[in-house]
């Protein structure tokens, strides 16, 4: 395995300097954002490194659960920022991401694919929660914009005696598909166009490619299941907020 230290990181920074130079040369106007990005990503990742070292060192199940809970809460608020038009979007994001994560991680733990150790649960939870967050945000945002821009279609269905669920079903389907699309595309090209993060990380850390592939398969399926559960649940929870109990469109 390659020995990684701050010297190697400093060398990597030269690549970011190259990006800044290119941005300035081509007048992209992204130099400031790149510089901030370099600084923030370094600070955040190093801080996370220390936090993980600390949690791994504790070897405590409550500490692992607390860390996962914090990750889900942060992800919920991040997703809700993109769904500003939906009342209490953070709550629907939280419930959807929590369910998606608990179902998938819980199953993996229950059948002993992984054990309740920080080094397994936290990285897997991070990938699951991160992808679920993106899916949940996209689904809620898409639902709101589609239903708002297709008000005549929804109200026509309601006026013809359909209930809120039937009237919004076409937009529910579109939104969930849109939320899952990134993951579905990833599954189709994985290993051919790109080597995913978990697998690349393991190979870089010295694991055999075959073992890394098996882990990646598990991770990929876990994320897909979590994204599906989160997307469907976020859509159901968000769509209900757009209708009154008397099946009236309220947005």
């Amino acid at each position: 395995m390659i020995d990684i230290g701050y010297t190697q990181v400093a060398v990597a920074v030269t690549l970011m300097v190259l990006a800044i130079v290119l941005s300035r040369w081509q007048r992209l106007g992204t130099e400031k954002e790149l510089a901030i990005g370099i600084f923030l990503s370094f600070i955040q990742l190093v801080a996370v490194g220390y936090v993980l070292e600390f949690i791994f060192g504790l070897e405590s199940v409550p500490a692992v659960l607390a860390a996962v809970t914090v990750m889900i809460i942060v992800a919920s608020f991040t997703a809700a920022r993109r769904a500003v038009h939906i009342p209490r979007a953070w709550l629907w994001s939280f419930l959807s991401i929590l369910t998606g994560s608990v179902v998938t991680l819980g199953l993996m733990l229950a059948v002993a694919v992984i054990t309740m150790k920080a080094q397994y649960v936290i990285p897997l939870a991070g990938m699951t929660i991160g992808n679920s967050m993106n899916c949940g945000a996209l689904v809620m945002e898409r639902l709101h914009s589609d239903i708002t821009s297709n008000r005549p279609a929804v109200e026509t269905a309601l006026a013809l005696g359909k209930n809120w669920r039937e009237a919004s079903h076409p937009f529910f389907v579109k939104a969930v598909k849109a939320g899952m699309m990134q993951m579905l595309n990833f599954l189709k090209v994985v290993g051919i166009v790109q080597l995913p993060g978990a697998m690349t990380g393991m190979i870089l850390a010295g694991a055999s490619p075959l073992k890394a592939v098996l882990i990646q398969v598990i991770v990929g399926y876990m994320i897909t299941a979590a994204v599906t559960v989160t997307g469907i649940m976020a859509a159901h929870l968000a769509i209900r907020r757009m209708f009154s109990p008397a099946d009236q469109l309220t947005i």
Partner: protein, 251 residues
Amino acid sequence: METSAARSDGTVLSADNLTRTVATASGDKRIIDSFSFRFDHRGLYTIVGPSGSGKTSLLRLFNRLDEKSGGEVRFHDRPIEQYPVTHLRRKIALVFQVPYLFPGTVAENLAYCCPVKTNPEEAFSSRYLHLVGLEPGLAGRDAATLSVGQQQRVALARALVLEPEILLLDEPTSALDPGAAKTIEDLILKLNRSLGLTIIMVTHNFSQALALDGVSLVMVGGVMIETGRSRELMARPGHDTTRRFIAGDLR
């Protein structure tokens, strides 16, 4: 302020002190103010008034597409809230000013609310197309290729599939040329007289109310200022605003 309908046959729908208030940037605004009226079974009513007088808002309260802020609406002498809303909307069908036809054929639009499996599809479509004066051959046409007049008729036919007792029509001829408008007016008279449907139609065109020869309700600023047989209102308007509206000074 109440009046007997053209053909008194018992009250089918009544409103008592009906009010709707909506929040606007400049504070709460009462868009329907203390509306009271009794609509008789098999009656033909036109709600007339200048733009922004609350005509469409009133229709939307009758089938609960919007929620009232105060007062009461009764259907067959029962508050409309006591009916399952999907059932209520089938009994009090609304056809919008700009009809929305779902993607697909005319036949598919007609079958939208009806389990066509129990009907021979062709006979089913023909029956309703015939009712609104369209050729049965139109059933297989893509709904998007129809003219505005044809779309309005298909929307009417689709509402008739629900077998409603009351038909709410929101300016059904506003986008049509005079010739096409006349055929829709004839159709409305036929539906009222032959099928015995109670019809409540919104129009900003008083000459249309005259052509239909029913009872007119004059709305201004959310308030019903006057009501009576259209011809009587034309001959002896009891309110200066009604006179100005009939004369075309108010739009």
